[in-house]
Symmetry: C2
DNA sequence: GTGAAAGCGCTAACAC
DNA sequence: GTGTTAGCGCTTTCAC
């Protein structure tokens, strides 16, 4: 007879007593370990149902030295960013990639120093087995803090050219290059660009791709062709207006984000320029651009679904090893031409 | 001398040995319990720093019977919703309300049955001390599952008129009524409404407020004045077009969401109607509406910041008691007139 | 003010 | 196949 403790949640031991078996057997049943007689298993399951038993995860975690949970950290203070498809789809695909595991996905916001400290304690304290990081700024100390603690960690994108910690990134340089190649091959030559904030590596890469394509084609980049935005629609509009003012001869634009591409289109229309007849626009990603119905728009698409899936795969691999080895994956982008006639 | 176990994380016991004190004392120091001599406390802190000690949260949880974490569950399958200010601001304010506690906020997505099952195991397993629920559909079994497990739970909004589980809601009926009162008192009389999905209690309340205001004013609601949308901008546009087609005499519209209000404005402009001279529009919330520069727009504003703060307060209160008692809070809304001249 | 000791509920290794 | 046992690392009495 197990001692009844009214009010308290039933324990594995009480289940064992009720089923007339040892604790080890109950543990095997709840963990689906093979090698338990079928009749025994059923008896245990009946006892579990009768008592409404639920395993105490703290005890499991302590004894098993794992949390069966991973964190996905959002360091972005502006939540509206997570309404953008690039982020929301990544989160969705990470969740999907974890459905076949017993890992619980925990999204955590880390906006302030206090939140960072608390999260690092949480993670180092063993409440998660690994950490995924999104939307990182170059100077964020969080990745290194986690890495120093020996925690499996995977970042979405990298902070610089020689990133050590594991990351999954898109081929931003190659994607930008293919976009500009496309513009050049369709007869344009005065190709301007609206870059992202140049303290972000992703923006540097897309600018580099732009320059490489023009270099190879023997086109000299005029300083007036390069204007920096901040990835938003508004900054794209302002940048496009700036470009028109500086050099009215520009006949094509590569925008380093879809938001800025949408802004550029709006600014061109406001200026009475035909898009894309007078000026061709290529944007990175096509979320906002999708709302523009012009069939001749072109975009560089990132393999979002694959990004989330790959991040999870790398993290699970890292969790198998000690010490953790870092992995770097760069995924190809795809140039999408809507023009079909 | 504590046994050194290279590779493993240092334990409280090793800290105690290094500091030359008992385990109890170290525990008191890391938990900031009063009644430790200052010199002892410093010695322990030195040992902690030297060893890089971090408490094992599973062990703390097991011994202390608490997780020091709360979950905020998003049952919305469409993540873009969380880009909307109503949700993103709520999440932000919940995070803010928790900064002064040692609680870690965990956001979890529950879209599928598998995810629901896993989360309930997680919560019942004691990994969180309480649960906040957002964006619930009426038939979602999750709240009852958590309540049956005796877990402190607070919902954002309620599922029906006689909700038992704790919730924090805005006064949707009163807000809608004040919006329509405003329209009537400014000389309108043919007031139509674009409702939300009527299987959601929030939409029912806003429709009721609309009807009540017209009833009190002795205006009979024509069936053609009530069109159902789904809270999106697109549905608002379609609904407005429908209303114009059915009854061109309509001179005012109450939209049950800001998105639908924005859609209504766009549809009116497309139809060549003067807004708000010909047709006055009042929307619930003013996020999308904020982009409309018309100074004569009016909105019903929900006290978002207070919603998040209140949810946290109720949850912390519930966590103090056993069994849990449910709490219901309805917060006043505010009619915001931009019209200042 | 501090140390010693008794659990918290589980997993995993080992015996039979 | 199944029972037994030794921890996992902490909090919390209870002595002193």
């Amino acid at each position: 007879m197990g001692k009844q403790r009214p009010g308290a949640a039933p324990t594995l031991e009480e289940v064992a007593a009720l089923a007339g078996v040892g604790r080890g057997t109950v543990s095997r049943v709840i963990n689906n370990v093979a090698g338990v007689k079928d009749s025994t298993r059923r008896a245990v399951q009946r006892a579990i149902a009768e008592l409404g038993y639920v395993p105490n995860l703290a005890a499991r975690s302590l004894a098993g030295r794992r949390a069966d949970a991973v964190a996905l950290v959002m360091t972005e203070p502006d939540w509206r960013k997570f309404g953008e498809p690039f982020f929301s789809e990544t989160i969705r695909s990470v969740g999907d990639a974890l459905t076949d595991t017993k890992m619980q996905l925990l999204l955590t916001q880390v906006r302030t120093d206090a939140e960072r400290r608390r999260f690092v304690e949480y993670a180092r304290g063993g409440r998660v087995d690994g950490v995924l990081l999104m939307s990182l700024h170059a100077e964020d100390p969080l990745p290194d803090m986690l890495a120093d603690a020996g925690l499996p960690t995977v970042m979405l994108g990298r902070r610089s050219g020689d990133e050590s910690i594991s990351y999954v990134d898109a081929d931003n340089t190659g994607g930008a290059r293919s976009a500009v190649d496309h513009l050049l091959s369709s007869g344009r030559s005065a190709v301007a660009t609206i870059t992202g904030p140049l303290d972000m590596y992703v923006a540097q890469c897309r600018l580099r791709g732009y320059r490489e394509a023009l270099d190879r084609a023997g086109v000299e980049v005029k300083p007036s062709w390069v204007v920096e935005g901040d990835f938003t629609e508004q900054s794209g509009r302002a940048a496009m207006a700036e470009i028109i003012a500086r050099d009215p001869e520009v006949d094509a634009v590569f925008a380093a984000s879809d938001g800025m591409a949408a802004g550029a289109l709006n600014a061109l229309r406001a200026a009475g320029r035909q898009v894309p007849r007078d000026v061709a626009v290529v944007g990175f990603d096509d979320f906002l651009l999708a709302q523009h119905t012009d069939p001749r728009l072109t975009t560089v698409r990132q393999p979002i679904e694959e990004i989330g899936r790959t991040m999870v795969r790398l993290l699970l691999e890292e969790m198998e090893e000690s010490p953790v080895a870092w992995r770097h994956v760069v995924l190809r982008t795809e140039l999408v031409l809507r023009d079909s006639g």
